[in-house]
């Protein structure tokens, strides 16, 4: 019997998303390993981890957005049975950082995992009703089959990589 976390990891794998598990303490070190430069990002809405101090531009200009090889953004939820992450839009441009660069590094906390879409929609319904009203259910990289065969990285990222921040032991 797989745990919820294991199921999420397995399903991320099957939608072509690489996975790295890390602890809050090792987070910055882990991230430095998986980020390609130049990198842009948006501040993480989490207490336990932050992008501050890493070589990641958090308030990019349009040129930096265009030139970035990698974008780092937070996921509000992870949906275990699909390997889906919920990416919220914010005024500081989370959506852009996760959409323009070739590589998207998604930071998701273990505590934000839910089993399935039904649970995700329950959580999202609460948010959407209180005014946080934009989110993308993202499952794997951007893809198209319109050119005769499956190709990754069309208008969105070619590669997706999830960094899962484990819950603190206590």
């Amino acid at each position: 019997m797989q745990t919820q976390l294991e199921m999420f990891e397995t399903n991320l794998g099957s939608v072509r998303t690489a996975v790295t598990r890390t602890s809050p303490a090792a987070f910055q070190e882990t991230l430095a390993d998986v980020v390609d430069e130049p990198a842009i990002g948006a501040p993480l809405p989490f207490e336990e981890v932050s992008l501050e101090g890493l070589d990641i531009v958090l308030e990019p200009t349009p040129d930096q957005l265009r030139e970035a090889a990698c974008g780092v953004t937070a996921a509000a939820l992870g949906v275990a049975d699909y390997g889906t992450v919920v990416l919220e839009s914010t005024p500081d441009g989370t959506e852009l950082a996760g959409l323009f660069p070739d590589r998207h590094v998604i930071v998701v906390r273990e505590r934000d995992l839910v089993d399935d879409m039904a649970a995700a929609f329950e959580r999202l319904g609460e948010r959407f009703r209180t005014g946080d009203g934009d989110a993308v259910l993202a499952t794997g990289p951007s893809a198209t089959a319109d050119m005769g065969e499956l190709v990754y990285g069309v208008h969105g990222p070619r590669e997706t990589h999830a960094v899962i921040v484990e819950d603190d032991a206590e």
Binding site: T90, F121, T139
Partner: protein, 741 residues
């Protein structure tokens, strides 16, 4: 009429030759993906029921929900405009473009904007309009219309797209691979998106309670179209509204699975615009987050005939459609020709008849409505369980009645149970009145068979009735099945536990009487007291031609003929699956509730009935077993029948045959391409054979080539007979008691 038929046949042949291979490969790929993907989904059926209930509720409460959307979108800071028709919607968007002095507009795929020709309207305003969905981009460059609801360019191969791009864009290095083509399009369209003043999207769903629109995509173009320009216009049919945010969930689980066979697309965007992402001005050097420009959002809700469809009892279900394209992918004819033959001005595939009749008017549906053979394959594949063949039949009926232009006339007229109109197409009248023809043909057999088969007759039939001379005609038996039973001197079992009427459908009664006789012998051997009364024909033939009033008359006659038997405790056993499908399906719409239930609940397909008897402990010993060696051999290749499969009945035949020692290999090809009258018609003969060849190939593969071929439906048997060297048989001929020739 004759030259019109030739033109149609020629056009279909040409599309099959140029686009057929690509369409077939892609549509069948989606189809196979769907089977696998829905199998992985727990509670698939429960989701379909929920999805249908949500849409039914939403369409019922639509006026109220439109007002609710207006409130929530305005609360969020956007604007809602309900456009009466295409001109009204286009005018609104054009004025916006003028106000914004828009030079470049980028679009994310939207069939609704195709429906109103928004691109042309914007071009007239001087805007450069670019489709950012790669499939749509290909079509824009090629100046072609979409051929599929979800994958608009499936009729084009990679090589064709490469040739098109190399010719049109003349790139420094010739483009060849899918990777290269994609990279080129990404770069080219990326620049257009950066320049864009307005982004236009459709919407897959709009939720009334939160003003959220759901966009289902995989490329990311919808996200960029919404995020980059500061003005976003969404154009959506009013039917896209669902009541609550949580109502999105079953659709998110179903839509990609139903469409392309993926569990979910890469992106399901849930935006409550104006979105909180800052717009990107690529001419600006400052941080994007500092951009204080206000975002503007306009939701254009399009009526364009939809509110009238809502009032139309027969077309209303069309509005439940979530445009996934499952009906197209599962349709054997669509797999051969795609949406350029099987579609109207905008919409394609099975559900397109309803859409085109509703939004563009009857004449746009006329063009392709006949390509639905009523096989019902799509009904179980539709995630909201729309009875698409019924909608097609209704539109065919209205068309027979010569519904004039303008969509309102026929909506008001509805289905009036009067005689079929005199001016109706002669070919349709001929096939629709097959019952009368059969009676006559049988009464004058064998002369009628001989006359019909002479070359002058065939030429005349082809010219006048459009019956293709390459198709073998059925041969009428001199003695009908009913007469045979009446003249027979066999004592009926006394104190039988089971009483059954074997339904003498047209084919069993006049043409394939042997299978009726075999059924009687089989049931009697199992201790059933059998009767074969003279019962009216089911009405399948007129229904197929869109003659609903005539079919209704037949249904009433059948019901009246069988009523005394049903009251006396008889079951009804049908040999022909399409007739059983009438009793259990269409009769619900043709008879009153009580009569329908009385018949539907007591009707069985012959092998379903035999299976029931065996399950109830009846001894199969008297039946023909594989080991009896009547020349058939014990290895069978079995093709079920489309409507039999929709009713999930094919397993009974396989099970009974296996109990009797046969080794059964069942075809997984979903359609024989014949569908009653369809394959006889000159304009569709080639298409019917193209579809049939998939079945033919499967039954000529090394592991099936030596097997005896059996099939349940008359049409399937006729098609297989035309395709194979071996003569196919009805399975009942293998199980009837020994020595009963």
């Amino acid at each position: 009429m004759s030259s019109e038929r030739s033109r149609k046949a020629e056009r279909i042949r040409q599309i099959m030759a140029t686009e057929g291979d690509s369409v077939e490969r892609n549509a069948r790929g989606f189809n196979e993906g769907r089977y696998e993907s829905v199998a992985r989904l727990e509670d698939y059926d429960a989701y379909k029921d929920r999805a249908r209930a949500i849409k039914a509720d939403a369409i019922e409460r639509l006026p109220e929900l439109i007002e609710r959307v207006r409130e929530t979108v305005e609360e969020n800071g956007g604007t809602v405009y309900v456009a009466e028709d295409a001109a009204d919607a286009n005018r609104y968007v054009r004025e916006l473009a003028r106000e914004r002095a828009a030079e470049t507009v980028v679009k994310s795929k939207s069939m609704t904007t195709e429906e109103i020709d928004l691109n042309e309207a914007l071009a007239a305003e001087g805007c450069d309009v670019w489709e950012t969905d790669l499939g749509e981009f290909v079509l824009q460059v090629a100046d072609e219309a979409p051929s599929h609801l979800v994958a608009p360019a499936i009729h084009q191969s990679r090589a064709e797209i490469a040739a098109l791009f190399n010719e049109y864009f003349d790139p420094d290095t010739e483009l060849e691979t899918a990777e290269e083509l994609t990279a080129f399009a990404r770069e080219y369209l990326g620049e257009r998106i950066e320049d864009a003043d307005i982004g236009v999207t459709g919407a897959n769903f709009v939720t009334a309670d939160t003003g959220t629109m759901a966009l289902v995509t995989s490329e990311g173009n919808a996200r960029k179209t919404v995020a980059v320009p500061d003005t976003h216009v969404a154009v959506a049919g009013v039917e896209k509204i669902i009541p609550t945010f949580e109502d999105l969930q079953p659709f998110v689980e179903l839509i990609a699975r139903s469409g392309t066979g993926q569990d979910i697309t890469s992106y399901v965007s849930l935006f409550s615009p104006p979105v909180s992402t800052p717009p990107v001005d690529f001419d600006d050097d400052g941080p994007i987050a500092d951009d204080s420009a206000d975002r503007e959002f306009h939701l254009v809700l399009l009526d364009n005939g939809r509110m009238d469809m809502r009032e139309d009892d027969q077309l209303r279900e069309t509005l439940y459609c979530i445009r996934c394209g499952a009906c197209s992918n599962s349709c054997a004819n669509f797999q051969s020709v795609g949406g350029h033959a099987f579609g109207g001005e905008t919409y394609s595939g099975g559900i397109a008849t309803g859409w085109e009749a509703g939004v563009h008017g009857q004449e746009s549906a006329d063009e392709f409505n006949d390509l639905c053979t009523g096989c019902s394959r799509c009904v179980n594949q539709c995630p909201v369980k729309i009875d698409i063949p019924w909608i097609n039949t209704v539109v065919r009926d209205r068309r027979n009645r010569g519904a004039e232009d303008g969509r309102l006339d026929f909506l008001v007229e509805g289905l009036t149970p009067d005689e079929e109109p005199a001016g109706m197409d002669l070919q349709k009248r001929f096939f629709g009145n097959f019952a009368t023809l059969s009676k006559l043909g049988s009464a004058t057999a064998p002369v009628s068979n001989w006359v019909a088969d002479t070359l002058p007759s065939r030429l005349a039939m082809e010219r006048v009735l459009g019956i293709d001379r390459r198709r073998d005609l059925p041969e009428f038996d001199r003695e009908t099945f009913v007469e045979w039973f009446r003249n027979r001197d066999v004592p009926r079992p006394v104190d039988a536990d089971y009483h059954a009427v074997v339904y003498p459908d047209l084919y069993t009664n006049y043409i394939r009487t042997d299978r009726g006789k075999a059924t009687v012998r089989t049931l009697e051997a199992l201790g059933v007291a059998v009767d074969v009364p003279d019962v009216a024909s089911s009405g399948r033939a007129p229904l197929s031609q869109g003659m609903i009033a005539t079919a209704e008359d037949h249904a009433r006659e059948v019901s009246a003929d069988l009523e005394p038997y049903l009251e006396a405790g008889y079951d009804v056993v049908a040999v022909e699956p399409s007739d059983l499908a009438m009793f259990r399906g269409e009769y619900e719409r043709l008879l009153d509730e009580r009569r329908y239930r009385a018949l539907a609940e007591r009707s069985y397909e012959v092998f379903e009935y035999i299976y029931g008897l065996l399950e109830n402990g009846v001894d199969p010993a008297p039946l023909g077993h594989a080991s009896d060696g009547d020349g058939a051999g014990s290895a069978l290749a079995y093709h079920s029948h489309c409507q039999q499969r929709t009713l999930e009945l094919e397993a009974y035949t396989t099970n009974v045959l296996e109990r009797l020692g046969y080794d059964v290999l069942e075809s997984d090809v979903e359609c024989c391409g014949m569908a009653g009258s369809f394959g006889y018609k000159r304009e569709y003969y080639d298409l019917s054979v193209d579809v049939g060849e998939r079945l033919g190939e499967q039954f000529e593969a090394p592991d099936t080539a030596d097997r005896t071929v059996v099939a349940s439906g008359t049409s399937c048997l006729e098609q297989l007979d035309g395709l194979l060297a071996r003569q196919p048989r009805h399975p009942i001929s293998l199980v009837e008691p020994d020595g009963s020739e």
